[in-house]
């Protein structure tokens, strides 16, 4: 981290110096020439409104009115299913206000405020407020941004997602319409006198709830860290109290965890299912970014985010309240050039950061380190693009519990076979546990082809990922047509498939069990929409 800090300081010293230099130059010139330091402010308004209708096909268990996460002990029927197979309509609108000015010396500056204008919260739980709001300066030395905006890696990455047409293909709009795999309660819940099975020790903490990389992004980019379904019975509120029924975690206590306080169960649940790994909205965390000019086709960009919990005004800064990621350096390098009608674009982007422990003594996580390589080749209207991303072991739970009180939380640092070996060696020295093999690096791949002729564009984009042996793949075909200035109808069909890492052997006590404990989902989503850009 020392090295990281050093780099950080040097990188941002440069950034700061560049801006100071501009200001100094401007001021010197101002007094020397006795000119007014006037601006030429221009305020513009733009935005978009997008309407989409959907038709979804999933596994039948996920198309019912209630999800299969029912907790029988609490007479709870299961969460109401938000994503059934019926036709759904959705709308998304934003209004963008931009302020632009230029100083006497040509320092361009301004602010961009992207206001949400929806009738509900959006997918990032952002309410009727700003999606992004930041200040920028542009000079001979490059561009700097200060505020809530996406980082350099997200802006500079190249891959199949960059060329996706329709609703955005593998960028993940279709994900809002499907259910993630989940622990199906009727299978794991013990019922005496029946042939239902229980998990080892009757504790759900022996089972990993699967998480998936759903979008080709870095861990704190759009879509956030790998996502999974949290069975409702684990949910806890900010104070560590259960939020089901009368406020107790009846389900968990009943399945044999024993007499524990709500708070403790909540922490266990959190450690198990990452409930509080609050990374869904970090792409717009408050940051500063610097982009160099494009020199001989080369360009670099770097963003610094002190804490992913700082996403707006100072009164909402989180400090050490949540288990966020700190000191994130988010960077990108691109080479873009065209020779004889062939366009070539290459990119390397990455993120480095440090995990902020929420509660010392409970499970900790690895630091953030991820990298992505992308390329695209264009010949007239035809473009081929692809990328390879590697998250390493970013934010994986660390293998050894610091207090040594319970190693069950560390299930998430190894695959099932290794975890079982770990369980059997509980009596041994914890130092030896580091010798067990960890999961492979989490990674993803994209590949896509797009063709554009006149106002019509079509693309096929594919995505596959693996996160702790949980695999996800999607293939999307999308087309759009520029019907009029600012008006673009589109259609998109995406097929998807989840394959969870299922607990096997001794994790399940009943030998007769043939069904998967984690219910996987697959199917397709049809989206038809119209975009108005103004």
């Amino acid at each position: 981290m020392k090295k990281l800090n050093k780099s950080l300081i040097s990188a941002f010293s440069i950034l700061t110096l560049l801006n100071i230099e501009n200001v100094l130059a401007a001021q010197t010139n101002h007094s020397y020439r006795n000119m007014g330091f006037t601006q030429a402010p221009v305020v513009t308004i733009g935005g978009f409104s997008e309407f989409a209708g959907s038709k979804v096909s999933q596994e039948s268990i996920f198309e019912k009115a209630n999800l299969p996460d029912a907790a029988q002990a609490t007479s709870y029927d299961g969460t109401k299913n938000r994503n059934t197979s019926g036709t759904q309509f959705a709308n998304d609108t934003e209004v963008h206000v931009k302020v632009n000015g230029i100083s006497d010396l040509g320092l361009k500056y301004g602010a961009i405020i992207e206001l949400e204008a929806n009738s509900t919260y959006d997918s990032d739980n952002q309410d009727l407020n700003a999606d992004k709001a930041y200040i920028f300066t542009e000079s001979y030395f490059g561009k700097a941004e200060f505020g809530n905006n996406i980082g350099a890696s997200q802006k500079m990455k190249i891959g199949a997602e960059s060329i996706a047409r329709g609703a955005g293909g593998i960028n993940g709009e279709y994900l809002n319409y499907i259910n993630l795999p989940m622990l199906a309660h009727t299978d794991y819940y013990a019922q005496s006198g029946t042939d239902a099975f229980v998990l080892n020790g009757g504790s759900v903490s022996e089972v990993k709830l699967p998480r998936f990389i759903l979008i080709p992004q870095h861990p704190t980019g759009h879509g956030g860290f790998a996502k999974g379904y949290n069975n409702l019975m684990f949910e806890c509120d900010q104070n560590g109290n259960g939020i089901i029924g009368d406020g107790t975690i009846d389900g968990l206590v009943s399945v044999g965890i024993g007499t524990v306080s709500d708070e403790e169960v909540c922490y266990m649940a959190r450690d198990g299912v990452d409930y509080r790994l609050n990374l869904d909205t970090t792409e717009d965390a408050t940051k500063i970014s610097y982009y160099s000019p494009k020199v001989l086709g080369f360009q670099v960009g770097i963003s610094y985010t002190p804490d992913t919990g700082d996403t707006g005004t100072s009164s909402y800064n989180t400090g050490s309240v949540n288990n966020n990621i700190e000191e994130i350096l988010d960077w990108g390098m691109t080479y873009i050039n065209s020779i004889n009608n062939i366009g070539l674009a290459l990119s390397v982007t990455g993120q480095q950061g440090k995990y902020e422990e929420y509660r010392p003594g409970y499970s900790s996580r690895e630091d953030l380190t991820s990298i992505e390589y992308g390329a695209s080749l264009t010949y007239f209207g035809l473009t081929v693009a692809g990328s390879i991303g590697n998250w390493g072991d970013s934010l994986y739970e660390k293998s050894v519990n610091q207090t040594g009180t319970s190693d069950t939380v560390n299930m998430y640092s190894r695959d099932y076979a290794q975890a079982q070996a770990l369980l059997e060696s509980r009596a041994t020295d914890y130092d030896d546990l580091t010798n067990y093999q960890k999961f492979d690096d989490a990674k993803y791949y994209t590949l896509g082809l797009a063709y554009e002729f006149g106002p019509f564009s079509i693309s096929g984009t594919s995505f596959s990922s693996e996160f702790q042996e949980n695999e996800f793949s999607a293939f999307s075909v999308g087309a759009d047509y520029k019907l009029a200035k600012g008006l673009m109808p589109y259609v998109e069909v995406t097929t998807f498939k989840f394959e969870s890492n299922q607990p096997v052997g001794t994790e399940i006590t009943a030998a007769s069990v043939t069904e998967n404990v984690i219910k996987d989902n697959e199917g397709h989503v049809i989206l038809m929409g119209i975009l108005l850009n103004f």
């Binding site: 780099s7 990188a11 030429a40 513009t44 308004i45 997008e50 542009e138 001979y140 673009m488």
Partner: protein
């Protein structure tokens, strides 16, 4: 990360050493905004937002002033008139240089296309020349000026059907146009 910092420093040094033609001030955009921009913008033909306060011309004028002071060369990378889709200095220089000796047969200032009729030069009645010029993009640089000078020879009384590109004149005219355009910017 150290190497990243070094790269940034190197790029900054490069920006001050490398020919202006090779530096451009385009910055990456939010990919989701890029997707929406494919639809264009309702309010302007240049995909710009609706102005509710101020005048874009004042900013453009400032940019012009910016270059005049030779503090930055940004003007060369942004056209002063956003309604004009090509670099106006390159366009004007092309017109002035080419029209000195060639009759112009085709001109489209929005597409940036300029073509001439066949003409003989330097009292050589047995060789005739024709120029096609394409100005593309808003930046004043080498890449945005595509020029070809064609020549034909006389075979007895008729012009030969073989049309060749005259590399010498192509280079001469390209250099002339670029120098003219740059001198206009420099003199403003």
């Amino acid at each position: 990360m150290k190497s990243l910092s070094l790269t940034i420093i190197l790029l900054i040094i490069l920006t001050s050493c490398i020919s202006r033609d090779n530096i451009s001030y385009e910055y990456p955009e939010d990919p989701r905004i890029k997707r929406k921009m494919r639809a264009g913008k309702m309010f302007s033909k240049n995909n710009e937002d609706l102005v509710v306060f101020g005048n874009k011309g004042t900013i453009k004028a400032k940019e012009q002033n910016f270059t005049k002071q030779e503090i930055s060369h940004e003007i060369q990378n942004t056209n002063q008139n956003t309604d004009f889709p090509i670099n106006k200095y390159l366009w004007r220089a092309s017109l002035e240089i080419v029209s000195e000796k060639f009759p112009i047969s085709l001109m489209d200032n929005y597409a940036g296309i300029l073509a001439t009729d066949w003409t003989t030069l330097n009292n050589d009645k047995n060789t005739r020349y024709k120029i096609n010029v394409l100005v593309k993009g808003k930046e004043l640089n080498n890449k945005n000026l595509i020029i070809s000078v064609f020549k034909q020879k006389k075979d007895d009384a008729n012009w030969d059907n073989v049309t060749l590109v005259d590399k010498k004149y192509t280079k001469i005219y390209k250099d002339k146009i670029l120098s003219k355009a740059r001198s206009v910017v420099g003199n403003q």
